[in-house]
Symmetry: D2
Subunit: 296 residues, 4 copies
Amino acid sequence: MKRLPLGPLYYEYSRQVEPRLRIEPGETVVVETEDAFSGQIRTNDDRRDRTKMPYSNPQTGPIWISGAEPGDALAVKIESITPTIGQCVTRTSDPNQLAQWLGDDCPHGTHVCPISDGQIHWSDKLTIPYAPMLGCIGTAPSWGAPTTLPAGPHGGNMDIVEVCPGNTIYLPVYVPGGYLYLGDAHSAMGHGELSASGLEMPAESVITVHVLKNKRQSGPRIETPSEIVTVVSGCPMERSTAQAFAQLILWMEQDFGWNRWRAYDLLTHVAQLSIGYYGIGTVGAKVAKRYLNQPS
Amino acid sequence: MKRLPLGPLYYEYSRQVEPRLRIEPGETVVVETEDAFSGQIRTNDDRRDRTKMPYSNPQTGPIWISGAEPGDALAVKIESITPTIGQCVTRTSDPNQLAQWLGDDCPHGTHVCPISDGQIHWSDKLTIPYAPMLGCIGTAPSWGAPTTLPAGPHGGNMDIVEVCPGNTIYLPVYVPGGYLYLGDAHSAMGHGELSASGLEMPAESVITVHVLKNKRQSGPRIETPSEIVTVVSGCPMERSTAQAFAQLILWMEQDFGWNRWRAYDLLTHVAQLSIGYYGIGTVGAKVAKRYLNQPS
Amino acid sequence: MKRLPLGPLYYEYSRQVEPRLRIEPGETVVVETEDAFSGQIRTNDDRRDRTKMPYSNPQTGPIWISGAEPGDALAVKIESITPTIGQCVTRTSDPNQLAQWLGDDCPHGTHVCPISDGQIHWSDKLTIPYAPMLGCIGTAPSWGAPTTLPAGPHGGNMDIVEVCPGNTIYLPVYVPGGYLYLGDAHSAMGHGELSASGLEMPAESVITVHVLKNKRQSGPRIETPSEIVTVVSGCPMERSTAQAFAQLILWMEQDFGWNRWRAYDLLTHVAQLSIGYYGIGTVGAKVAKRYLNQPS
Amino acid sequence: MKRLPLGPLYYEYSRQVEPRLRIEPGETVVVETEDAFSGQIRTNDDRRDRTKMPYSNPQTGPIWISGAEPGDALAVKIESITPTIGQCVTRTSDPNQLAQWLGDDCPHGTHVCPISDGQIHWSDKLTIPYAPMLGCIGTAPSWGAPTTLPAGPHGGNMDIVEVCPGNTIYLPVYVPGGYLYLGDAHSAMGHGELSASGLEMPAESVITVHVLKNKRQSGPRIETPSEIVTVVSGCPMERSTAQAFAQLILWMEQDFGWNRWRAYDLLTHVAQLSIGYYGIGTVGAKVAKRYLNQPS
């Protein structure tokens, strides 16, 4: 099994750097990623030093997948995500939009949480079940080089809990080779990512990558053992919600034989929404697979 | 057990009509409600007739609760919700915000679904598990009389799935007696209520109402067996999401001894969001009770 | 000329109170209005006392206009707005959404500004030209009783600068008699009404009211000497902007013979937007009259 | 006077291409730009051919300004904007968010408009005064390479009418040399850019560029003969409006000696808002210079 070790940290989904690893479709690889703070915080006394690294969410990559061409899609199965130093760290700073209700005196601090026995030790008294996910995964667009802050049709900083072991992430390919990047592993994450800072950890992810030829997607899709999910980012969330629903309906139409207006009717009653970082309006619209094969 | 039968249908949360039922705190009552279409659609051939009734979501009420005064809260435990005619109905019309992606040729139609054996028979082939909820529940404000379309601090048309049997809804009291209204039962509902029309049914709800004295709330709260939830409505959803989180933090501070900034940090990692009708930006922010008694 | 003096102050657009004045179409009347703070602040030492009056923007009315029926529109020409006590007052409190950038230590204060010689004396050094407008004008809906905080199809707290002398405000009629209310005069106002508090003054407005029979409008419209304007309120502002443009296009189609898609093209190049209180997303879309009579 | 002729068209604000022109601070240069459609539409029969060029808004540049360093600002005075082929062109396609009110049958078409005698000949009957502006102007960020669709702290596709002759645009410098790009000239433009397509023209702009050392800005600023303007892009517009106001207040504090809360109070009464392309939430907050030198 190939391994892509930590190396240069990238903060953009750029088509203009040299691929660090080249794989064949169907290969399984291990990818090491640094945490969202670029490793600046390893103890409670450490702080973000923006003079040394002003950006967040370093990515490992890009990975070149043989045969991936514009108009294809990558299918990235996440096999596992493992912490590499047995801990994660989070950080509080300004409460941003919550300042109007809570005040602006949130103490700026960092907070290391050991991970053991399937639990994240958030405090002496409180543990959170280990439920890892990747905040960022994406391909390089042919137009522009998005930073690791927003999300978009290429994926990016989606911060949605469904990017986790057992699930497959489908991403559009915009340039030959696909240029796959990943990073920003969290040991657990809530909906909305309230403070914009997760339980950030350096991690080792095992992924298997396939190429779906001529599978044009307008944005990221996710398949879980029991659901399919479309992901749209962007504010206002009313718009990304509407668009994520529309893409889910079109997916049901194209791949599962549904009439679009019947799907529209059904989803009103059975769809679920999963919200990523609310500040960038990431919305996942989901439907259980059990409904898919019963077009009506 | 007292029963409040169908009677005049109200389409406003008004303090200016005569209470139809007066109860003592702690009483359990049965409340009959008409469906969201005011009963106009009982067969697939029926259509909404807006010339006869232009409004939606008729309410049964108001119920006067003895001793409820401004500054108190009502605790409304929903014991059960039962369909009264063994069926529900839904309706498609214009796709509104989705027209830009799906076109505007959605057939306008109605669709009756029998309910039996715990299943909603949406089509010959596809059933949806019966999981009833109330789209609307609210008290009368002292300022203004909201219609049954929006939601707000008084409750109203929240369309959030947590208003269901087994849960308790806490609502602010603004006028003596509280003036509780409910209606708009759905036999099941997805997040977001995509088409703005649920699986609407006339129903019979059993509720138990207590008064919490001097319990000033800034909006609706819900308690499930395993979670507490704050609900905020209004667009853009980024704002209602932030506000729902802020209210959840303040609830943790006031009732569970949490430091607000520790709660802010925790919720980033463990909160869940439940989205009601996305067109009016209803957002529920939730945290599992298992975390509440471990302030840190 | 009839005069409607100050009397009971109303804080809702309600169809359920007794009209205080009945007029014929075409009549000109003088209407006295209290300021947005219900007259609680007359000196720099006064403060808002919400225990005595928790609501804002008291209205004078309702005025019954003979012959106004649902489906008609009122045309309210504003002839003049005059301060009644030679001063206005403003007030700062929490900076709300700006707290995240500016902090939350805005001093809570009131600030009386004399008005003389066509100038508002905001400070010893700085004067603002007197340019009065009405923050609120509206009719009573048939469904619900909106408070004087939001705006909507009935008008209400639009806080848009075009509601000023020389202009005509067109409002939908929902109930017999129309039930016209007005209040919340400002001696001047910027776009957006940043702090949500204007230069509030008790005032005397002279208005002339006509009835346009069978003139169904989906919301407020304004005619200035040189422009026509549609007004839509509601967040997110992207949606109210789109909707205001759509209503302007439909107005051009219905009354001026424009093809809707030609109007759509034209407005891209020549439309103007006027923003009311940004917190409730009030947007006015405008086009110069000189373009209207050249449909193409 | 140096001239930067048309050359390679760039569709990103990238720091990774070779500067095409190097100038000294204070130099005046002529910059030729292609139209937003990359010159694909010169007659009414031409159509956008996205197979040949899928992107919009080509830029000319980058221009290297000697001595510009991160933390500085560029001051770009626009001296003039002149059409190079005596015409502009616009284009209608899908009505996007307006489809829900207007339907989705907008004819897809192009429309050439001759420019002469200070008028744009939009149709046989209707002319629009020539009032040119640049839809895009910006510097290259150090993090990411934005496309020419969004706008941001670096400038970009702001589509705001104040980027016009006589005004000075202040832009942050993120990388040595600044890397200034411009393009997307319009012969006139309304607020909101309803259809997302302006009156697009190839043009020749004369600009004078100065460097303001150690002038850290959080985003674009504009100075007109009578006003100062801050520009913020991003949805929802409520948020960009609030942020633009906050930046205007901070500018008044830093450069004009205002107390921030006095400025906050003043702007409520006298600020103006100028809306760029509403789909990306570009908002300019403005205050008249006559108020600036009277801090109070």
